[in-house]
């Protein structure tokens, strides 16, 4: 913890310097980020989440209290950077002695190695639930986050996740995965439909009913739209669908209209259209009108994805004889090749931090997920010896990657791992094959 204090002191110094140098009162970042989730060899911070204190007794309060605690534990277990200490090791019971700072003897928690503590209180009244939630730094004996929420009992999970977002923001500087969603393709009666679920695989929900082949879902930056490819009208066209209202557009030019991806922060997208003879990448409006052609080569150009700042485009091209990943600078129009190892590199995904690209590579017949720095430096293999692994997509905070894998009985299912390839686990249980996951960039 001395180390942590040093960092804090130093950060304070830097921030002060920043303010002084700029001579105004706009502080760039007053909150100190405690944890860098982009660090590959992250040490998990031990967290204690004791039983909730039950205030005003309502009908289901016991059950709600248990559920709230479980939602918290599951949520933080999912992140990959916190470790929940087993409840049986706890020396104190804030549910009986109190959940506020003055009620807590922090030695009870530092004594079992907990560096962070979350206490919760709950009251239920006519299906209205009220929650008091606090995050403490046990060694500093300091309240980091304190929030009160009210809502319907049915919204308990959502409320807890809102608090988790606050905790995540305090610890990492970002709201994390909480509230984000994952779109994917799932097989239904032999056909492929687009589905969505919550970041942790909860509540899968079918959103297309074309009874056809639907592929490649892509969230708009504001998560209000999904673009995807579908054979609903007999050939591959792009469908742009508003999730709340019955609005949308279809891109159905001659040939294939595939691989949509949104421009960050805009109602515009890129896609591969083959009406000119072979697939080239175009910039399009959100209603499907061509703004500009972005590639021009005789080979396949496919799977475009923007850098988070929208200034660069990563895509797959066969212009050098095998599928490789290229980056186009949209300001200078220069194109450079990113991958050189292996004869098959596809399916690029730009990390939200902008520094790395995840992709699929085939080596010796094995299909695995890799990441590489945007300058082509330090390629890392994230999956190995576990089926075919495809379709990587980053979580909004860049800490996790969702992908599809055939590691269990040869059937494609969705899995999640940390950006360093650790803690690979199944995302959800759903009948049939699941592929093409795309993680939304918004937490709402």
């Amino acid at each position: 913890m001395i180390y942590k204090k040093l960092i804090k002191a130093f950060s304070f110094f830097v921030i002060t310097l920043f303010v002084v140098v700029h001579g105004n009162s706009i502080v760039y970042c007053q909150d100190v980020t405690i944890l860098n989730i982009n660090n590959a060899s992250i040490r998990k911070i031990p967290l204690a989440v004791p039983e909730f204190k039950q205030f005003l007794k309502g009908a289901n309060i016991e059950q709600d209290a248990k559920e709230a605690q479980k939602f918290l534990m599951d949520a933080f277990n999912f992140t990959g950077y916190l470790k929940i200490i087993d409840e049986r090791a706890y020396l104190a019971k804030p549910s009986e002695t109190g959940i506020a700072k003055n009620d807590i003897d922090f030695l009870d928690w530092t004594g079992i190695g907990a560096e962070l503590l979350i206490t919760g209180g709950i009251s239920v009244d006519n299906n209205k639930v009220k929650l008091w939630l606090r995050l403490f730094d046990t060694f500093d004996m300091r309240l980091l986050v304190g929030k009160i929420y009210t809502g319907e009992s049915d919204d308990l999970r959502e409320i807890i996740h809102r608090f988790c977002g606050e905790v995540s923001k305090k610890l990492t500087g970002k709201r994390g995965v909480f509230g984000s969603k994952i779109a994917f393709v799932s097989r239904v009666n032999g056909k492929k439909e687009i589905f969505k679920c919550e970041f942790d695989g909860f509540k899968p929900e079918q959103i297309t009913f074309h009874k056809s082949i639907s592929l490649s879902p892509a969230w708009s930056s504001d998560s209000k739209w999904i673009a995807y490819t579908s054979y609903a009208k007999g050939k591959p066209d792009i469908y742009i669908k508003n999730l709340k209202e019955k609005r949308g557009a279809i891109i159905n030019k001659e040939g294939m209209n595939i691989a949509p991806a949104w421009v960050p922060g805009q109602f515009a997208l890129v896609a591969s259209l083959s009406f000119s003879g072979d697939p080239e990448i175009y910039l399009l409006t959100g209603t499907g009108k061509i703004i500009k052609r972005l590639t021009d080569s005789w080979g396949i150009d496919i799977s475009p994805k923007f850098s988070p700042d929208g200034k660069n485009l990563v895509f797959v091209s066969r212009r050098r004889g095998s599928p490789q990943i290229f980056i186009k600078n949209l300001e200078t129009n220069q194109i450079r090749r990113l991958t050189f190892e292996g004869g098959y590199n596809t399916s690029p995904a730009w990390s939200p931090n902008g520094d790395r690209i995840a992709y699929v590579g085939i080596r010796d017949g094995r299909i695995d997920i890799y990441t590489i720095g945007i300058g082509g430096e330090s390629p890392v293999q994230l999956t190995s010896a576990a089926g075919d692994n495809e379709d990587p997509s980053w979580s909004p905070d860049g800490s996790l990657i969702v992908f599809s894998s055939t590691r269990q009985r040869g059937m494609a299912k969705l899995f999640v791992m940390t950006a360093a390839g650790e803690e690979q686990r199944k995302l959800l249980k759903l009948n049939g094959e699941q592929t093409d996951p795309d993680w939304s960039m918004v937490n709402d």
Binding site: K192, I213, L215, S216, T229, Y231, G234, K235, P236, G255, M256, I258, A259, S272, S274, D278, P279, I300, I302, S303, V316, S322, P323, G343, Y344, T346, S347, V360, I362, I367, D388, E390, D391, T406, G410, T435, D436
Partner: protein, 172 residues
């Protein structure tokens, strides 16, 4: 002049092709052109042939639909075998000028969905282009890619992949 040379090459291929068409699916089974040879006698040789691939029946209608062309991994180039099958299809299409055909490009399950859609399109287009070169009117030929979405064989092994990397031909 160039076109003349090309036509000659095509004609030469046609002759070889016609021979191969009859026996292409079984050519490694036996050196005898007689396809009625008792199959049990060639078990050992049969192992070299992908058991999942359909064989020519001699019935022109059935063969036109059933005989696919096959591609190497990540390739849209027409192999000698594929060209031979296409010669047969061209002959069939020349015999009945009313037939319109849709050429389907397919891929095996390995590799990325989107890339395979593009690869399937290239496969369909190279097959279509070859038929056009053989004199079939472009207006009779359309194409579509199904990428890895419609495998002929739903298994996950080398034989299935070989069978799934294909061009398929349907009469409209």
């Amino acid at each position: 002049m160039k076109k003349r040379v090309f036509t000659n090459v095509i004609m030469a291929l046609l002759v070889v092709g016609l021979f191969l068409t009859v026996s292409c699916a079984q050519k490694t089974v036996t050196s005898e052109p007689d396809t009625k040879t008792d199959q049990k006698t060639s078990d050992q040789a049969k192992a070299k042939v992908n058991p999942l691939k359909p064989v020519a029946t001699g019935d022109a209608d059935v063969d036109f639909i059933n005989l696919d062309i096959y591609f190497d991994f990540d390739s849209a180039e027409l192999t000698v075998d594929a060209q031979a099958v296409l010669q047969g299809k061209a002959g069939y299409l020349k015999a009945d000028k009313n037939i319109k055909v849709i050429v389907e490009g397919h891929c095996d399950e390995r590799g990325t969905t989107e890339y395979n859609l593009a690869l399937g399109e290239r496969r369909a287009k190279s097959a279509k282009g070859f038929l056009v070169d053989l004199g079939i009117s472009e207006s009779r030929l359309s194409y579509i890619s199904y990428g890895e979405e419609q495998p002929a064989v739903a298994e996950h092994n080398a034989d299935a992949w070989e069978r799934n990397r294909r061009g398929h031909f349907d009469i409209k």
